[in-house]
Symmetry: C2
Subunit: 371 residues, 2 copies
């Protein structure tokens, strides 16, 4: 298999697996238990929290563990708005379902909530000026992702956050596609809450976290024995948290170096494919700041034929289901027609992607369009 | 360490760890991805669901994966009540924080909700007749745990459920302390929703599930890409689900056999301790149906001294924090005074507990009260 779908999920890094291993059957106690072994587990958990804080550029008490990116987005958004007076919320057109989902239910529960979508330019970038023009006196929250999973565009979160904070409005950033791919400093990003997902950067599935800016008041969305600064109850998934910490350390050490290689591999892939196709593919949002591992390409024909003819390739194309998924919604947001979307594929590379793999992938794709 | 705190958490069984292992770095794809590898992972996930259904005695589509027992209780209760007209809820005095927590917030959000507590007899058993007498025309839900974590009493869930169903009232059963310890057949239990926690029976931390009776309408409490019959969004924690399935298979095979051994070990422990203490300890709820691995004992002196004098022992005593924890609340519910509670310890045995361990534990406890 040539795996070019790292934005969807990544394999666990071997060193992360190794870090988790002792916490399954040996150090299996929970921090609250009355024993020296349990206290040691508690210290390991706090060590993992510190690793994530170090990667994110914040204090460790600003990190709250969750069961993944979806829970992180839900807890940040519903937790923030649960503590607020009903009002207006702005959400970018490029967001993931786990950002749109918690918002879309609000007006049903209380008609005083209004959810408004920030349109996206064909560049794949949300304009801070446009956001500013849409802010209202009763705006409670602006949701803007860090980077888009499909076209890879990196959003001007800081510029948006500054404009919001001037008016006392909070910003939530779904940074699940950004952590581990580009360096993220939440203090520089200036968002009030930031969502992190472990399995997007070689950490364990079922792990995630939120950065919650010091002093910010959130309501929990699930209830039980108080854990995680009162925001997330339940026995801690210790191996998951330890794994997330190990993945954060790995990302902090290797992310910048890996990025240069990934951008090079990505461009090599596009060049190689362009040479072999009769019409070169269109690189979407090419002129915008993008994730180094991600490229969305518009091809001369139906992209889904690749799944049939090149079975060893794993990459993303539009799925024909309804409601439209993130793939289709993101491309519609940048102005692509449904027929163009059907001809688009998203390639996302990872730390294990080789030069040979991208060359072989380019050839397989070209062959699929030759037949 | 002599670990006698299996009701709090268990080590992962070696065969469960083995079952999970390939899904971290080898079969790391997600079911929704467009590739044969991803489809195989989807099949493994459904296989795990079938194992849990086989253990629980239900259909696999009645099992919804969660991130643990706390989320399971929250989703069952808030999901059920979210789809109901505000009204009256009955909850037993013995419940865990993750059952009480979601309920206690309801009247704040909508004053039409009334939460009423079902008192417990000194036997540690909730009386079905008492529950019946407390039902009202607007009762929406009755919450009754399967077994109590502290005194180990097994509740007459079926008798309560029959009385509730006669009037069209739903029953939620937190069975997190029962699964894997005694055979549980949800069709026999007759509860409408049942919570399961993986780390309570040699499965992974961060794993859990709910049985949701076929046809029952629940609202999700988190939102995103639809997964798990629309009830639980987010990328599946594949290794966690596989591990929960493996733990369920293990429990189904060995639970009955292990129970005889555990009950014997427990009684041996109590006998051994009684012989060595000047005053024999009081076994709480001794005449009631109890979990075979669990015993709560009232001793001649402060139980917490054991933590200082017998550092190799891991077992549960009352914690001096406020609000009172499950330990203190459960014992108060059966009528013990706070000074009696301070003299109580809860021993919970597991599959790896040996005869030598319980004898040594009994001697260590007796020594602690000798000094």
């Amino acid at each position: 298999m040539i795996y070019l779908d790292f934005n969807r999920t990544t394999p666990l890094a071997p060193s992360v697996l190794e870090a988790m291993q002792p916490y399954w059957s040996t150090h299996y106690m929970l921090p609250g238990q009355e024993h020296a072994h349990a206290h040691a587990v508690g210290e390991a958990l706090e060590g993992a929290r510190e690793s994530i804080a170090a990667m994110a550029g914040c204090e460790s008490f600003e990190i709250v563990f969750t069961s993944g990116g979806t829970e992180a987005n839900n807890l940040a958004i519903l937790g923030l708005l649960g503590a607020a007076e009903p009002g207006h919320v702005l959400v970018s057109q490029l967001e993931h379902e786990s950002v749109l989902g918690p918002l879309s239910g609000l007006p049903r529960r209380d008609p005083r909530w209004t959810i408004e979508t920030i349109p996206c330019a064909p560049s794949g970038i949300i304009s801070p000026l446009k956001v500013e023009a849409m802010l209202r006196a009763d705006t409670r929250l602006v949701c803007l992702q860090g980077a888009n999973a499909i076209v890879g565009t990196i959003q001007p979160v800081r510029e948006v956050a500054d404009r919001c904070h001037n008016r006392g409005i909070c910003v939530h950033c779904d940074a699940t596609q950004m952590f581990g791919k580009v360096p993220v400093d939440v203090k520089h990003l200036r968002a009030d809450t930031v969502a992190i997902s472990g399995h997007k950067f070689y950490g364990p599935k079922g792990s995630g976290a939120i950065y919650v800016r010091r002093g910010l008041q959130l309501d929990p969305i699930t209830f039980g024995e108080p854990r995680e600064m009162g925001l997330r109850p339940g026995a801690e998934n210790i191996p998951g948290c330890i794994g997330l910490g190990a993945a954060a350390s790995l990302a902090e050490r290797y992310c910048v170096e890996a990025n240069d290689q990934l951008a090079e591999l990505r461009d090599h892939f596009v060049d190689h494919l362009s040479e072999q196709l009769p019409t070169p593919p269109l690189v979407l949002c090419e002129a915008s700041p993008r994730l180094p591992n991600t490229v969305a390409l518009e091809l001369p024909g139906d992209a889904r034929r690749i799944h049939d003819s090149a079975r060893e390739l794993a990459l993303a194309t539009a799925q024909a289901h309804s409601p439209p998924d993130e793939f289709t919604r993101s491309l519609r947001a940048i102005g692509r027609s449904d027929s163009q979307i059907g001809r688009t594929l998203r390639v996302s590379l990872g730390w294990t992607t080789s030069n040979e793999q991208v060359e072989r992938a380019a050839s397989l794709i070209a062959e699929a369009f030759d037949s």
